[in-house]
């Protein structure tokens, strides 16, 4: 069957040759993936430096941090952080980490690079949208960073940006004028970028799979990205209009989120009748899926890395996929647990508590499948697998505190305390970051054609693993003792005895943060001076290891799309190449098989 598009054949893309088309405004999903990775890397170091400054301030409230006044003369006069500057750094830390690291790195960066290759496609179906997706996200990041340079500095409202604090304007505090507008604009722009990305991910998965690549033959990473993109599509499509309404409340004087008769600094505010809970509903309808957007790709990556290093398939591929799907579906039904004491109807608190508790079931299943699959495996220990196993440990530690926070009665004690901070840092931030590290050490050879240094990698792992526990485990203890989060200093009598714990955490955070410089060095050093990587250094089975060159050529497979003959993880068998058979190898295999 032919159509008029035949006329266009000849005009089609050859690999670009100019520097700009090749490395900057590239439509190649691999370049875009690397760009996203670079953005996330810049963002994560910015976010980490912010957290250092915050931690130093929390440990020693009147400490002068030399040179801090260069960052903000009003925020740190005499190098000592003001209360508002602490909150501004905290807000930026949260926003940068959640949006520009945890969403971009595991999902947009690795997803862009590997999803098309893993399904055997030559590119995403809408490469120009894909390019826009990155550049729009980049602009969003610039807009956010720009708020550091406006007169009042960035917003201090926290990454959740609750109204009316975020909606009444500068009278509510430094950064609540222009800072919030820039914040909301940045997030709205970011949503556009992620919507374009999700559109490509979904369509690639549904339409661009190569011959033989049935849905169940897709690797778990692909499933993770696919499920995440479906979540992203719905979640970001809700956050974007919410941000626009917030901006309108600011610049156009509307009252979507601002109630009547508010008096700030002895001034009666002109707004009227808005619903403050409306923002919370809209935000958390996005916000809870967002934490799964951060962690589900990590789950996929960890599974993918683990099977290659366990030399066996997961106990059940399908159960893992169904569980990730269940997380995605349930994530929309649980958001109210963020609002147990918000003044929402107490009956709905109970209604939200049950799905929240039930979401532990698919999470438990995922963890049990991981641990159960370790049984009887031939585990290889390398940096990638260490980080993958570390992620499991972190996910367990962060996950169990979910039992507490799912219950409204315990939320009375724990809401808005460090217990919550410890919970989400472990379960979504550290776990997702471990997923990113695992993916980096695993795929770096394919992305850059060079191996990463294993010794440095292992040092990095040990410091990070022990460090992360030293930082985030004590958060739970602080929370149990009633230590409220988002305090710049602990002036309350009952919080004074907890300050030594904070100092311990600060020291741990500085050391752990410094360890990340080892990673950065390893990344840069290996990129240029690493050992040359073979095409398939881990003896892995999925299609990204079947590309004709390393890194893969412009169209991924050198003009011939592979044909897929097997389920994704044919490990632990006797194949012609060793104990594995690649997905595109036509040979017959004997294997442990998979239970459906």
């Amino acid at each position: 069957m032919h159509d008029m598009s035949a006329h266009a054949h000849v005009a089609h893309h050859a690999p670009p040759t100019s520097f700009i088309r090749k490395h900057i405004f590239s439509i190649d999903h691999k370049v875009i993936g690397k760009q996203y990775y670079g953005l996330a890397l810049v963002a994560v170091f910015v976010g980490m430096v912010l957290s250092w400054l915050m931690r130093l301030h929390l440990g020693w409230a009147n400490l002068a941090i030399p040179g801090l006044h260069w960052l903000s003369s009003t925020g740190a006069p005499g190098d000592v952080m003001t209360p508002e500057y602490y909150l501004q750094l905290m807000t930026m830390h949260g926003t940068i980490m959640v949006f520009f690291v945890l969403t971009t790195a595991p999902f947009a960066a690795f997803g862009n690079y590997f999803l098309p290759i893993q399904v055997g496609a030559e590119d995403m179906p809408f490469p120009h949208f894909n390019m826009m997706s990155f550049w729009v996200t980049f602009v969003a990041f610039l807009v956010l960073i720009a708020s550091f340079f406006v007169s009042d500095g960035p917003t201090l409202g926290g990454w959740t940006q609750y109204a009316p604090l975020s909606a009444v304007g500068a009278v509510a505090g430094p950064g609540q004028g222009m800072g919030v507008v820039l914040w909301a604009a940045s997030i709205a722009i970011f949503c556009v970028g992620q919507l374009l990305g999700s559109l490509n991910f979904i369509t690639t998965t549904l339409n661009m799979r190569t011959k033989g690549m049935s849905l169940w033959r897709m690797p778990l990473t692909t499933w993770g990205w696919f499920i995440t993109s479906v979540m992203g599509l719905t979640a970001f499509a809700v956050l974007m209009p919410a941000c626009i309404l917030l901006i309108l409340d600011h610049v156009a004087g509307t009252s979507f989120f601002v109630a009547s008769n508010l008096v700030l600094n002895d001034q009666l505010q002109p707004h009227a009748g808005g619903s403050t809970l409306l923002w919370q509903h809209l935000f958390w309808f996005f916000g809870h899926p967002e934490v799964y957007i951060a962690i589900v790709p990590g789950m996929g990556i960890v599974s993918h890395v683990l099977v290659a290093n366990m030399r066996r398939p997961m106990l059940s591929h399908r159960v893992l996929v169904y569980s990730m799907g269940a997380l995605a579906v349930l994530s929309y039904m649980v958001y109210g647990h963020h609002m147990f004491v918000s003044g929402m109807n107490p009956v709905s608190s109970i209604a939200f508590s049950f799905p929240t508790l039930i979401i532990t079931i698919p999470s438990t299943i995922i963890v049990l499948i991981w641990i159960g699959s370790l049984y009887g495996s031939r585990l290889r220990i390398n940096t990638a697998s260490l980080f993958a196993l570390g992620m499991i440990s972190m996910f367990i530690s962060g996950g169990v505190s979910g039992f507490f926070l799912a219950q409204p009665s315990l939320d009375i004690m724990l809401h808005a305390t460090y217990f919550v901070v410890g919970h989400f840092h472990l379960v979504m931030a550290v776990a997702a970051i471990f997923g990113i590290f695992s993916g980096t050490y695993f795929w770096f050879p394919k992305m850059f054609g060079r191996m990463m240094n294993e010794t440095l990698g292992k040092i990095h792992f040990w410091l990070t693993f022990v460090g992360a526990y030293c930082i985030f485990m004590p958060f739970h203890y602080l929370g149990l003792a009633g230590n409220v989060r988002r305090y710049q200093a602990f002036v309350d009598d009952y919080l004074q005895p907890l300050i030594p714990v904070h100092r311990f955490i600060t020291v741990a955070a500085l050391v752990t943060g410094a360890a990340q410089l080892i990673f950065l060095y390893n990344l840069i050093h290996s990129r240029f001076g690493g050992e040359k990587a073979p095409d398939n250094p881990w003896q892995a089975t999925s299609l990204e290891w079947a590309t004709p060159t390393t890194p893969p050529p412009y169209d991924n497979f050198g003009g011939h799309l592979p044909t897929v003959y097997h389920d994704p993880y044919q490990y632990g068998i006797e194949g012609s190449t060793g104990d594995y058979v690649m997905q595109n190898s036509p040979e017959k295999v004997q294997s442990v098989g998979e239970e459906a």
């Binding site: 030559e122 011959k211 499509a237 003009g559």
Partner: protein, 223 residues
């Protein structure tokens, strides 16, 4: 432990091959036809899937705005009803008419593509659609002017706030559709139009139509 001998390698065969009209988007054409073996070659081209994904996202956005409206209205003591500008009904007719003309154009182009006897230029109908689309946007602008002439601005009242936000959001999406139409016409002009592009654009346009009718009902019933 069960060691099983696998079945011979399976390659999924399409159970019911459908008519393929298009090779798909992207740089699908880099791959020589004999090498291009997709698992889903019988499935619709990416543009057809993509447009539904896009429609889902846009629906979600308007669902969020709708729920915001319902929540905001629920607790409000300051909600003021107003009669919607009557030009909106006229605009609705214009938009529906544009959908009809676009559908005519689409069928003509399809006929053209299938090399049927009738090869009359379908561009004329696309121009009409474009004109009607612009007329709709102009009509919306008139509606805003009428409303502001009554003293109802964006910030006057939550009902007028929602009116402006909903109609502006729809108009923006519609302008995107107009852009798509222009692109279709350009491609038609240099014979590089794909069937899937045309289908996707027209689906989007019809969706804008349906969305507008939904918004009109929402505005009529709730504001």
């Amino acid at each position: 432990m069960a060691t099983t001998v696998h079945e011979p390698p399976r390659i999924e065969q399409p159970s019911q091959p459908r008519r393929v009209l298009d090779g798909g988007g992207g740089h699908g054409n880099l791959i020589p036809p004999q090498g291009s073996l997709r698992a889903v070659e019988y499935a619709p081209p990416p543009a057809a899937t993509g447009i539904w994904v896009g429609i889902a996202a846009i629906s979600m956005t308007f669902a969020a705005l709708t729920s915001a409206l319902v929540v905001r209205r629920g607790g409000a003591l300051d909600w003021r009803h107003f009669t919607i500008p009557s030009i909106l009904y006229l605009n609705t007719l214009v938009l529906i008419a544009s959908s009809v003309t676009l559908e005519i154009a689409r069928r003509r182009v399809a006929g053209f593509m299938g090399l049927k006897a009738e090869v009359r230029s379908p561009a004329r109908w696309l121009y009409v659609t474009l004109a009607l689309g612009l007329l709709f946007v102009a009509g919306q602008y008139v509606a805003w002017r009428q409303l502001s002439a009554q003293g109802l601005y964006l910030a006057s009242n939550p009902s007028s706030s929602f009116f402006y936000v909903l109609t502006a959001a729809h108009a923006l999406h519609l302008l995107g559709g107009l852009g798509g139409l222009v692109r279709v016409m350009r491609k038609l002009g240099n014979f590089s139009l794909r069937r899937s592009t045309l289908d996707a654009t027209s689906r989007y346009w019809h969706f804008m139509d349906v969305l507008w009718v939904y918004l009109l009902v929402l505005i009529w019933a709730k504001l």
